[in-house]
């Protein structure tokens, strides 16, 4: 019966690691080293740079004092905070109404409406800003709507970023609204509670953390976005454009580092709040909750429908304007249809090569990023030993969320361009763009992977061990197939973001690795606004196409695995 092999009792030594454990240890250590090299050490480089003078001597906080004493710079702090607060207020309010309509009403076409509302997520933040120029700019079709105000400034930035951040807030608040227990509402009704009081005592508390989380996500996005203020901000300085101007315009790297460090603070705060909210959120849900099925109520449903239609009209209007403008000869004088704006090779800004580079970069990012992030998440979540190291890896994986893209990009210059760094050869290559983009979007993917891993039975590894099957076989045969939807999701997220990102890579591209998103920026800068719109539109349609492929793939996958997948 017993299949145990005889082994001398005393030969086991806790220090002699076995092959499997050694593999796991190497995996965890590799993850730690990767994040150390791609996130923490660059951040250290930028911190130390902010305390150096131009000849590299340590000067303490002198740079910060100089910064505070320069009114043109210090005003950016106020500007950034103002824009972020106003945008957050607008976006969260709108997203709450729309999410409520989607989750808690019986209005028609909810699926289609949700889909259309996600539209802005597929375009770089530059695109709505370019659209603003066409809509409300000096030659804009709707210029009169601004009643004499200029779109170039806070108004344009707020509108563009509200538009761009809306899908993120909508998703978070929708999720919060979907996590509810119908019995709470039935109890409230049985106790004859008024609709308003039910909203205040049942609905609001249950989505409180979702609202806070959405607020901070939008706040951080606005604060750290660079594309929209660059295109439509005019003379209105914000922190993100300051970094760019200091570094690219004035070659003042120290001051760029100082602004970066300042930009880190609000992002860190948002990060801390988000972590706190996540922890609270979990405790709120019970497994026995009954899903809420809304009942029709004509007045509520149709008024919410009207609001949603308005929002969709704006989304279609803004995106449509960009698409339309990209096919027009010479706005607004010659409205003839043309494809000239798509002749990127004739413009300054990298041409079609830039688009190819972008695709290549996005593909590598999706491929390597998914493999790297998922395997690290697996090690963090499913191993039994090395608790301390695993916690360290998890904490390090959380850091990128708090680091704005521009800061990371600048940090990469300081770290990788240093002649003492043996990794110096990466500078100016495609590889550094991929590495930087993976690092930039690491945390969200890590959390997606961890969530997916948490959902599968915690005892798989224990069962495999008892059956003497090595962990990597179970990883390959069970964990990976079960997590395939999450893997696809991570890959798509990385691909879309890699295609649209400007902030992190704007400091890192070389003439050989020009990217499409950056060429939008450069063409707009050079006054070639129609080709800029065209490239932005091209990126958007690429993302939508990829998303479509993703949708088809996951459908095929679900059909093939329907036998064992119970849900859906």
């Amino acid at each position: 019966m017993s299949v145990i092999t005889a082994r001398p009792v005393n030969d086991w030594n806790p220090l002699s690691l076995r092959r499997e454990q050694l593999l796991q240890l190497i995996g965890v250590l590799f993850g730690i080293v990767v994040l150390l090299l791609t996130v923490l050490m660059p951040l250290y480089a930028i911190l130390s740079k902010s305390m150096e003078n131009s000849s590299g001597d340590f000067v303490g906080l002198d740079n910060f004092i100089e910064y505070a004493a320069t009114p043109s710079l210090a005003s950016s702090v106020t500007h950034s905070l103002t824009i972020a607060s106003v945008t957050t207020l607008i976006v969260v309010t709108l997203a709450l109404i729309c999410a409520y309509a989607l989750q808690r009403s019986c209005m028609p076409f909810r699926g289609t409406i949700r889909l259309l509302m996600m539209g802005p997520i597929f375009a770089p933040s530059l695109l709505p800003a370019i659209s603003m120029v066409y809509l409300f700019g000096n030659q804009g079709v709707l210029k009169s709507w601004l009643m004499g105000e200029s779109i170039y400034g806070p108004i344009g930035v707020v509108i563009s970023l509200s538009f761009w951040c809306f899908p993120a807030a909508l998703m978070i608040i929708s999720t919060a609204l979907s996590n509810t227990d119908a019995r709470l509402y039935e109890s409230a009704r049985a106790l004859r509670t008024s609709a308003l009081r039910t909203f205040l005592t049942v609905t609001l508390p249950s989505i409180k953390y979702g609202l806070i989380s959405a607020g901070f996500v939008v706040f951080t996005l606005v604060l750290t976005d660079f594309g929209a203020p660059k295109v439509i901000g005019g003379q209105y300085n914000v922190l993100a454009t300051d970094i760019y101007k200091q570094v690219i315009g004035q070659q003042n790297f120290q001051m760029g580092a100082v602004v970066s460090v300042i930009l880190l603070f609000p992002a860190l705060l948002a990060f801390a709040v988000d972590r706190w909210v996540q922890r609270k959120q979990v405790a709120l849900l019970t497994s026995r909750a009954e899903p809420l099925r809304p009942e029709p109520a004509a007045i509520r449903d149709w008024s919410l429908f009207a609001v949603c239609m308005l929002v969709i009209a704006v989304i279609i209007g803004v995106l449509g304007m960009a698409v339309y403008a990209s096919f027009i000869s010479f706005w607004p004088y010659n409205l003839e249809f043309t494809l000239d704006n798509y002749q990127f090779d004739l413009m300054d800004g990298g041409g079609w090569d830039a688009y190819e580079n972008s695709l290549e970069m996005a593909l590598y990012t999706a491929l390597f990023g998914t493999a790297l992030i998922f395997s690290h998440a697996y090690l963090v979540e499913k191993l039994a030993g090395f608790r301390l190291l695993r916690t360290l890896l998890h904490l390090m994986a959380m850091v990128p969320l708090a680091v704005p893209g521009l800061v990371l990009g600048l940090a990469y210059i300081f770290f990788f361009n240093s002649p003492d760094n043996p990794l110096n050869f990466l500078y100016g290559s495609m590889a550094i763009l991929v590495i930087c983009t993976i690092a930039h979007y690491y945390t969200v993917c890590h959390l997606t992977a961890v969530t997916a891993l948490k959902q599968i039975d915690a005892e798989f590894e224990a069962v495999s061990a008892s059956l003497k099957v090595p962990f990597y076989i179970t990883f390959w045969r069970v964990t990976l197939p079960v997590c395939l939807p999450a893997l696809l999701e991570i890959a798509i997220y990385l691909f879309v973001n890699a295609l649209n990102t400007v902030s992190a890579v704007v400091f890192l591209y070389s003439s050989d690795t020009m990217l499409a998103s950056i060429s939008v920026l450069n063409m707009d800068d050079a006054g070639d606004i129609a080709p800029a719109a065209a490239m932005g539109v091209l990126l958007m349609f690429t993302c939508i196409g990829v998303k479509l492929i993703h949708w088809l793939l996951s459908h095929m996958l679900l059909n093939r695995t329907q036998g064992w997948r119970q849900s859906r």
Partner: protein
């Protein structure tokens, strides 16, 4: 060596300040079916996971088949395990699940298939090999998990609350099946459960645990009829507890009543104690062999099918006493709310415990 298949010696486990297991020692013979029984948080699962090597103990040794396995990883030990959640691989068929551990041992394909067929037969699901776990009921899934665990013929089978996620009827059915399978295979088995009925029905030996210590080890009969501690008495079955006092002459005073008790424990005279007796041990019919008789009023009667549970007001005793009478007793003695009875509390059925402080 003492001939035990599994020896747990002075095992302790603490998480920071919290002591999950404190100095546990236990021997299990080959082929024995042992239940770790206790309320949630008593340390029973922690002890099982220490035996499996899934969560190592802080101190102490575990020997299996004469070998010190205390610090071995799970895959270096010899056991099969079944979890409450089944932990079946959802993307593999039932047959692939069962073959999961066999495949790795480089068994030939025909042998492997034959073994899987044999196991499917054994668990009564001969046609289900091609199905996926989600297409099976909970009870069927747990059977597959069991087949997967015994497929490699381990020397030790560990069951972690295997029946807790199932419906009451399935549970009763499956527990006799598991017990029969275990007897047939003769595999040494440890099952963790919080369900006393399950433990009483299945185990050769029950280990009652509370707050990280073993309260009592014994056969189901011993545990039930001779509980060593007040905790065991209260956790298993129903028990009346009455505050009482030991008198100089060896009699026990409960309120205004004096009772004779047989007991082997030493109690100081004049000490506060707890007297305990099970509801079914209180008699209303006796033929002159009564030891402790006393009158009582029936305050309340609860009909439970084959018997009634009644709440009694015993003369001179403040606390209500619960007694269970068969339907025959009820009919013959016309027991109903308000009727007056003469009870006997047999001295051999009375348990005495230290008073809870």
């Amino acid at each position: 060596m003492n001939g035990a298949y599994l020896s747990i010696k002075n095992v302790s486990k603490s998480f920071g300040d919290f002591t999950a297991l404190s100095n546990i020692s236990l021997d299990i013979r080959e082929g024995e079916f042992v239940c770790f029984l206790g309320p949630s948080g008593c340390g029973k699962t922690t002890l099982l996971r220490a035996v499996a090597g899934l969560d190592l103990q802080t101190e102490g040794e575990i020997h299996q088949a004469g070998e010190d396995v205390s610090w071995l990883t799970p895959d270096q030990r010899d056991f099969g395990i079944v979890f409450q959640s089944y932990a079946l691989f959802p993307n593999l068929t039932v047959a692939e699940n069962i073959a999961y551990g066999l495949k790795n041992r480089k068994t030939s394909r025909s042998k492997l298939n034959a073994r899987v067929e044999e196991l499917l037969e054994m668990i009564g699901l001969p046609e289900s090999g091609v199905k996926y776990p989600s297409q099976l009921s909970g009870g069927q899934q747990q059977r597959v998990a069991l087949a997967r665990a015994i497929a490699t013929s381990p020397g030790l089978l560990l069951l972690d609350e295997p029946l807790s996620a199932l419906d009451a009827l399935v549970r009763v059915h499956l527990r006799s099946e598991i017990k029969e399978l275990q007897r047939k295979l003769g595999v040494t088995t440890i099952m963790v459960t919080h369900d006393q009925e399950e433990a009483l029905a299945m185990a050769d030996k029950i280990v009652v645990m509370n707050h990280g210590v073993i309260e009592q080890i014994g056969t189901p009969e011993e545990i039930y009829s001779r509980p060593k501690t007040a905790f065991v008495a209260s956790f298993i079955g129903q028990m009346n507890f009455l505050s009482s006092r030991m008198l100089d002459d060896g009699k026990v005073q409960v309120g205004g009543q004096l009772l004779d008790c047989e007991h082997d424990k030493l109690f100081q005279p004049d000490n506060d104690m707890q007297l305990a007796i099970r509801p079914e041990d209180i008699r209303v019919r006796y033929n002159g062999d009564a030891t402790n008789t006393m009158p009582a009023d029936v305050r309340h009667v609860e009909f439970l099918g084959s018997f009634v549970r009644s709440e009694l007001d015993v003369d001179g005793i403040m606390e209500p006493v619960i007694a269970e009478f068969s339907m025959n007793d009820v009919r013959d003695l016309q027991i109903a709310k308000g009727s007056r009875l003469m009870l006997d509390l047999p001295s051999s059925r009375i348990h005495l415990f230290e008073s809870a402080r």
